[in-house]
């Protein structure tokens, strides 16, 4: 809503949503600052996309990064997806991300809701166990042994089960559930709903914001995870996208240590940039749908009201 007021001794200033607008030089200055910030973010991104479609010769001659390609070719994307390795890894990653996020949300919500209920006898000791895991991580080798002992080696579930519950996310969820007005759950109870019914029909619908954010946290974590696959999966057929793509990027450092003649070359910059695009696009697609929940959800637990 916009309205105009008349100041006593100065030209009238516009007020937008209760905040007086700055003078035009200040607005131009702010615009320029914003423009610079946008450029700082956008130009590298454009560089990544341009280099991924630029011809190799131009990339070599420019020293690695191209902003304006002489010609556009999708050879890098073709060779990424040609062998079937990347495509297969993409499906693995999608499965791990979707199933993992659903399982993580389910388990985390159940745990957080139980911990948020007053009168839950074992609540405090369980909460302490959850908090303890935030302070001390178990380490790579003990975790490996647990995964091995559980028979999860060389199984796709090794990518989901060990990281299914994040203590941080449980704490955020618990804080959100605790802030829900007690009157709502009490009235549900008066109407005859049990704990599960209250949780499913009353609490969860009221928690869409926090569920979106925590879901995004879990999804991004599953999508980006590569190290557990490296350790737990010997069969490269089960490797997720990030680990497969990393072999293109990481082996880049090994020029001079490969063998004569037939070993692979360090990858071309175009392939590396195509990898960047492939690995970030899916998350970029999801992000706008969750953005409207983001500000509210992310503040959950940070401010007690």
């Amino acid at each position: 809503m916009t309205q105009t007021i008349v100041a006593r001794s100065r030209a009238p200033r516009k007020i937008v949503q209760g905040v007086p607008m700055a003078s035009w030089p200040m607005r131009v200055f702010k615009g320029l600052v914003l423009l610079v910030f946008c450029a700082v973010v956008i130009i590298p991104f454009v560089g990544v996309i341009s280099t991924s479609v630029a011809p190799n010769k131009q990339i070599n001659e420019s020293g690695g990064l191209v902003l304006f390609p002489d010609s556009v070719n999708f050879g890098a994307y073709e060779s990424l997806f040609a062998g079937g390795v990347v495509t297969q890894a993409l499906f693995i990653s999608i499965f791990v991300t979707v199933v993992g996020t659903l399982l993580s949300l389910t388990v985390s919500c159940l745990l957080a809701y139980a911990l948020s209920r007053p009168g839950f006898a074992a609540g405090r000791p369980i909460l302490l166990v959850v908090l303890f895991s935030m302070l001390f991580s178990p380490g790579i080798i003990p975790t490996y042994l647990v995964v091995k002992g559980a028979g999860l080696l060389d199984s796709i579930w090794a990518l989901i089960v060990p990281t299914m519950v994040s203590a941080f996310n449980v704490i955020v969820l618990r804080a959100f559930f605790m802030n829900l007005p007690n009157e709502i759950t009490e009235s549900a109870r008066i109407d005859g709903a049990g704990e599960l019914k209250t949780f499913v029909h009353i609490v969860l619908p009221l928690s869409k914001a926090v569920l979106s954010v925590i879901g995004l946290f879990y999804a991004v974590a599953y999508w980006n995870a590569f190290f557990s696959a490296l350790l737990y999966l010997n069969d490269s057929k089960l490797w997720p996208l990030q680990l497969v793509l990393r072999t293109y990027v990481i082996n880049d450092t090994q020029l001079g240590s490969a063998e004569l003649g037939t070993e692979l070359l360090p990858p071309q910059a175009s392939i590396q940039m195509a990898i960047l695009v492939v690995s970030i696009v899916p998350i970029l697609i999801i992000y706008p749908f969750l953005q409207r929940h983001f500000a509210k959800g992310v503040l959950t637990g940070a401010v007690k009201g």
Binding site: I140, T253, L255
Partner: protein, 540 residues
Amino acid sequence: MPVSRRRFLGGGLAAAAVAVTGTPLLAGCASDKKGTAAANLAVKLPTYTRYGEIKPDLPGTDVVLDGFLKYPANPIKAISEAPGDGKPITFLTNIPGAIPPSVDKNQFWQKLNERLGSELQISMASNDEYKDKFATRIAGGDLPDIINIPVDTVQIPGLVKAKCMDLTEQLSGDAVSKYPFLANIPTEYWKGCVFNGAIYGVPVPRGMSRTSLPLYRADLLAAKGIKDPAPKTFQEFFDLAKELTAAKQNKWAWTRVPLSTIRQMLSIPNVWKEDGGKFTSMYEHEAQLDALEAGRKMVAAGVVNPDAFNDKASARKQWFNGGIAAFDYDSFVAWNQYYSDNTAGPAFSVNMLDVPGFDGGAGAPWMGAALNNVTSFSKNSKHSADTLLKIANWMAAPFGTEEYLFRKYGIAGRHYTLQGTDPVPTKVGVVETGIGVQYISDSALALYWAGKPDVPQNQHTIQTKVAPRLTYDASYGLYSDTQSKKQTQLSKTMLDLENQIVQGKKPVSDWTAAVQTWRSSGGDTMRTELEQAHTEAAGK
């Protein structure tokens, strides 16, 4: 100091393995260190029997590699029976390239299994991540039949003693003749496979192919009217670099500071030097300050690409390929890779400089590291040592054999096309053959580039020229526990300082104090251990 994942894995491996497996995994070397060097020397190494069926166009020596101008027209089928025992064999390795298609989609892998007579199940990791995977699987007591052990693995003697087969009986002396292609690996390479007075593995030899010298773009120099650049002193070397630098046109002479070349000009040792039983590290050499001063001079003169300190190896490759830089310090392996990745067209031409003395005369180039890795066999393997050695023998069939052609290039038509008798890899071939089997074992590499006979010719010429002057790392074949644990970290500290000095961020004089710190942090202990090992070995 923060503890990174790698440091944790490196440092914590011993404790974790003992705790987890209940085996005093690495105790062997600690408790039994004294006398080990003598015991190692007492081991009769496999008798070297050169495989004489293949005649190279450019014959090598024990140091210089054999050169081939074209692939032999009728490759010899050297092994008639499949080496496997019909049961799956597991193998843990790094791979140098992108992840290849899995076996169900990889015709090379399928054909390999068929030819081996056993299914080869390979657990892979990229070069950079391999150590993490390797350490975790050892600590988890989860070892495959065939293990690629990097040469800088912490406390190898204890590891192999606890977990790997003793192969002395099968390989020592003339016993190796049962595996003719393992016998075709020169004796020098086997030294790196001897621990605790026994042979615990099969070498993956490199040596001369890893020797690094200044590579240059012969076509770019020729365009400037320089046909045969052969600087006689550092000053001429420096002047040549200045001549090839045109910073305003985005062109520099060097992809990185050629400090190793300058050190070789000043006859600084190759890692460790031994003289009368006394060991001296390259860091301690009196000419180090001169080398750093010279490196600093090159950076100050602007002949090195200004991004040299920030970018990775791939950037160097791009600068060299794209003509942004005319010189790169790298190996014979990289020489071939540059041809493979050429985007400059048919004029693209690479050659290598010899190293002159700093003030004239001849420099002292460094011999490349002898081994890529040691391949050991798990004690718990269900396969016999004989079966696994037959597999290694098959993998070591040399250039010119039909096995080599298949191993490196795959199946004709799908993985390579023939240009005359030369196999030219296809894109599919490059991807599908990159499954890491060259790290089970390998023959000494051959100088060869399909369709470009001038490449092996130039390589052979420079190898022949520098071979008599090569300096070797005196610590090769001697074990120092401290070196095994601390070398990586200590050399990184020195490298960081070196980079700061040549960039002018720290004075050259800081080097002397850093060497003192290096000595007190483990350098002196390494020296004592190496001297002791050398004395024991020499006294035998």
